[in-house]
């Protein structure tokens, strides 16, 4: 037991080293610069928090990420659920449909959205045909959201479908035999059992959404930039590595805080849906 644990530690060492070199070192160095430039201290953070745009952009980014999570759940949950109902052939088709976007680069897809959403583009024409003329989604928050959800949806669907496919459908039959109608069966049995997947998928989409750069840059308006864009501006145009590092740390801590809050909220929510069950 002991020796095997030591062995696996040894075997894991190269991977850990690689992660350390590729992720921890760069992040660490840029975060370090936020405390050391121009001199040792918290001057960078005083400067960042004195600027009202910092918090505004941070808040907007969190809202957009939450919105993306919500929309991905709204579309992804029924889709993943459908995947558990159909036969193996249809399931393969649905899975391929989810994976297709991964075959094209994020950049290409975003440019595709630019041409779809532009003034007098296909989406405008469609909306005009449906009786809502003169709408251009390019350069709006809605445009950004559409692009982000399209990119993030596969992550939600894949995570959810793993969890949902493991739910024993016999439990639903049992619930009905015990007097629960379809609605109650869903809310008291299926939904609580799917929560681990909902949580994992939401966390993944949330974290990915916080880091979006190209999509809001190309589909959004410069007046509504998100935190990644602001960090980009500091690095590229202002050559303010300290400020960029400070913002990065703020995002990192905010993300960690959000996830911790979600973990804490997760148990009671699950317990509530599971009628006070105290599992896991």
């Amino acid at each position: 037991m002991h020796t095997s644990a030591r062995w696996s530690a040894l075997l894991l060492a190269p991977a850990v080293l690689l992660v350390a070199i590729c992720f921890v070192v760069p992040i660490g160095s840029i975060v370090l610069r936020s405390f050391t430039e121009p001199e040792l201290g918290l001057a960078t953070y005083e400067r960042l928090f004195a600027d009202p745009t910092t918090l505004r952009v941070l808040g907007r980014t969190l809202l957009v990420a939450l919105g993306a999570v919500g929309l991905c759940l709204l579309f992804g949950y029924p889709y993943a659920y459908l995947m558990t109902l159909v036969g193996p052939d249809m399931r393969a088709v649905l899975m391929v449909l989810v994976l297709v976007p991964f075959w094209t680069s994020l950049m290409a897809r975003t440019f595709a959205w630019v041409s779809l959403l532009q003034r007098d583009g296909p989406v405008s024409a469609l909306l005009a045909f449906a009786g809502v003329p003169g709408v251009t989604l390019l350069g709006t928050a809605a445009g950004v959201m559409i692009g982000m959800v399209q990119i993030l949806l596969p992550y939600m669907v894949l995570t959810l479908s793993t969890t949902l496919s493991r739910i024993d459908r016999g439990l639903l039959t049992a619930a009905q035999s015990l007097g629960a109608n379809r609605y109650r069966t869903f809310f008291q049995v299926y939904l609580p059992l799917s929560l681990p997947g909902v949580f994992a998928g939401s966390a993944l989409v949330f974290i990915l959404a916080l880091g979006f750069y190209i999509t809001p840059q190309l589909l959004g308006s410069p007046r509504e930039s998100l935190i990644a864009q602001v960090i980009g501006v500091r690095v590229e145009r202002l050559v303010d590595f300290a400020g960029a590092g400070g913002l990065s740390l703020i995002v990192l801590l905010t993300t960690a805080l959000c996830l911790a809050a979600a973990v804490l909220a997760f148990r009671p929510v699950r317990a509530m849906l599971g009628q006070g069950g105290d599992r896991r």
């Binding site: 439990l171 035999s177 699950r270 599971g274 009628q275 105290d278």
Partner: protein, 361 residues
């Protein structure tokens, strides 16, 4: 914690009830051209424990599922206490159901699992709790009320499932091979448990199994299924002593089969031995006789019966199992332990005319 033996009925006062009757009339289920259940008529009496017994694929689960409401019959009706429920959705039928794979909710503990059906019926929290504990006492697992269901053994999980199916006093309890996943010893213990609970609560039970021993142990009556039809319904004794078909005779218990032909009230075996055929019709037939009805006598003189040589004798404690070799194949007999036959002895086999049954085919 030790097992506590309750005085019968006392802890289960609110669970006690008068079971209801179930009537299946012309019930069929077709999948395309295939009839999984093919026009079944059956009366299940209030308070009885009836077993659906049959080989794999004979339509037992489909029948149970039509009673429960999960499968819609192609034809025919299901009535409970004379009231038709053929189109009533499962959650409104008020039937308890126990599945082979327990189907306990893993996100709830033992007690909340048992409370689940009461919650669906709007029973207030305090009463829900009290009745759940009562049902858990009936299955002798009240001391595990707070446990996670995954912490329990298979037998314990199935007892929780039983408590959950009984807690709302269903009019009928349906069980589909509930002990199929348990080992033999546990299975027999659970069978006794079902018998006791059935006796104490008075609920009507429909029990599906393909294990004839289980059916014989448990049932007030057994319905033997074969290819979507019911071959015979009767008490275990009826079925064992007076099987209506060759299939029923061979399915339940051990029997000897002798092929031959019937000619004017006489059954002639392939080797030419002549035996009583009762009222069987002329033509090819099979004679069936239970080992305990076969009489073994020394081969002195030329009495009636079949000449045979003792092949092997197995001592079973209470009695002996003797396999005799005849010109028509082996015949097994159960004989008293005191009898001293040895392999190689010449014997004569016979039986009372009423003890053997002759079926065409």
């Amino acid at each position: 914690m030790s097992k506590t033996n309750q005085s019968p009925g006392a802890p289960a006062a609110t669970l006690q009830q008068t079971g209801r009757s179930v009537r299946l009339s012309g019930l069929s289920k077709h999948y395309g051209d295939f009839a999984a259940v093919d026009g079944i008529d059956m009366d299940i009496r209030a308070g009885e424990l009836l077993t659906l017994l049959g080989a794999s694929g004979s339509g037992k689960t489909t029948t149970l599922s039509m009673i429960a409401g999960f499968t819609t019959p192609t034809e025919g009706t299901v009535l409970i206490d004379g009231e038709e429920i053929t189109r009533v959705p499962p959650h409104k039928r008020n039937l308890g159901m126990v599945f082979q794979h327990y189907s306990l909710f893993p996100h709830m503990n033992v007690r909340t699992n048992v409370e689940f059906p009461l919650k669906q019926r709007g029973v207030p929290k305090a009463e829900r709790r009290r009745r759940a504990m009562e049902a858990l006492e009936v299955v002798e697992l009240a001391h595990r009320a707070q446990a996670r269901v995954t912490e329990l053994s298979g037998g314990q999980q199935q007892r929780i499932a039983l408590a959950r199916a009984l807690v709302f006093s269903p009019s009928v309890l349906l069980m589909d091979e509930p002990f199929g996943a348990l080992d033999r010893a546990l299975r027999e213990k659970m069978q006794m448990e079902v018998r006791r609970i059935h006796r104490e609560l008075g609920v009507t039970v429909v029990f599906v199994t393909h294990d004839q021993q289980e059916a014989l142990t448990l049932s007030d009556r057994i319905a033997v299924f074969e290819r979507g039809r019911i071959e015979q319904v009767g008490t275990p004794e009826d079925l064992y002593e007076r099987p209506a078909s060759l299939h029923v005779a061979t399915f339940l218990g051990e029997s000897n089969l002798l092929p031959g032909t019937v000619d004017g009230g006489v059954f002639v075996t392939r080797s030419g031995s002549r035996l009583s055929a009762g009222s069987a019709e002329n033509g090819p037939a099979t004679l069936v006789v239970r080992p305990e009805h076969v009489r073994v006598q020394p081969a002195t003189g030329t009495g009636a019966g079949i000449a045979a040589t003792v092949g092997e004798v197995v001592y079973l404690g209470a009695d002996k199992r003797l396999v005799a070799v005849t010109a028509d194949g082996e015949i097994t007999a159960r004989i008293a332990a005191a009898e001293g036959y040895r392999p190689g002895d010449d014997v004569r086999l016979g039986w009372e005319p009423g003890a053997a049954a002759v079926f065409p085919g």
